[in-house]
Amino acid sequence: MNISKMYPKPHPQTAGRVIDGEAVLILADSSEVNVLNQVGSRIFELANGNNSVEEISETIAGEYEISREQADADVREFLLQLVDQSVIILDEKEEDE
């Protein structure tokens, strides 16, 4: 699936906040409390419905000084894991301001 033009945003039933750069999530189905690692937290923070997947990759590539190709692959893989865990959903359109 090509998700690069999609806009990830938090799943409405996942409770989560980014606190000091670390995303604390409470998963809706299990009520488990989880904490994302540093890069994951940054991606979760950017997944706010206003940034497309490719825009998130671009930001991550810049901030972590990795190649765009690597960022594309890692961000995509990571976001799809979050989709599987109902942490985020992928929207076709950008969030209305």
Binding site: P12, A15, I19, V24, N34, L36
Partner: protein, 353 residues
Amino acid sequence: MTGQAVDVNTNSYNDIVRRTRDEHRLFSVHWEITYRCNEKCTHCYLDVLPPGAKVPGELSTEEAKRVIDELAELGALTLSFSGGEVFLRKDIFEISRYARMKGFAVRYFTNGIMIKPQIADKIAVVKPVVVELSVYGADAKTHDGITQVPGSYDLTIRAVKLLLERNVRCLIKTPLMKENIHQIDALKELASDLGITFKYDLTVTPKHTGDLSPLRHRPSDDQLLDFLRERISAETFTPYPYNENARFCSIGMNSFDLGPYGDVYTCVGARITAGNVRQMSMAEIWDKSPVWSETSSLTMGNLPVCSTCELRQFCVRCHGTAACEDGDLLGCSSIAYREARLRRKAYLDNGGH
């Protein structure tokens, strides 16, 4: 690069919660969304109102949503809806769903007696982290005697079952009183049979109005000593080491209590008012009220009586109870002192030294 997507790291979570305490960042809110209740519990710390009472002062749905927006802006994560009885608010699901949409983890504290299949369905849609149901006895006679509502035990247990059928996580909790402390094993068994967690506490406090009448329901010294002797020994209990920086709770640090009329209190126990959301923004209350620093400085070393008390290694006090029952936020809590005395006796009786 990103590693495992979701890092199940309890230490990391605890670190974050600790940091929110240390840095005075809001993390959790206990919201008494109504003082109306359909039970009349003998020991209740609130002066509850009848279920059908007209309460024009309660925050409206729109005001509640604004509060949620402001709490989200402050970074709070958990929101516990309590009462009174939360499900007497006709808009509770609209408010809850809004809170979930804003990224909050929602808890409900309820007696459960309004939870019929249709309500249970709605709760399941909200996907709360947990529904905590108050059970006051291991049988209908004990429970209904405390709630003063015949049939309430059966309705509460039915609620647990309806929620579990819908995969909603539940627990039951019991304040131990002279009427039910002898049933603790039966209560544990009840929870075990239902497949859920059981919590208890020994806290029976004055009413928030200062009325001391609930205190007559506290366990007697003999009851409490028997209870503690079964749980405390040299093997199972280590007297608390003295630390002048130790706190008894996180009052003033990363949480507060919000009342139905918009008053923000330091906590449920110590109802020190920080402001009202109708007069100030939540950020102003959280950032500017002096009560947070005043209460978060309540360390062992700053409590003149406690810091030199012979029982300090056995004592767990509630500042609010000290203020409400004994008249001094910084002074000795007589009920905590009694429990500490009995805790030490149980410890010494069971091989401690």
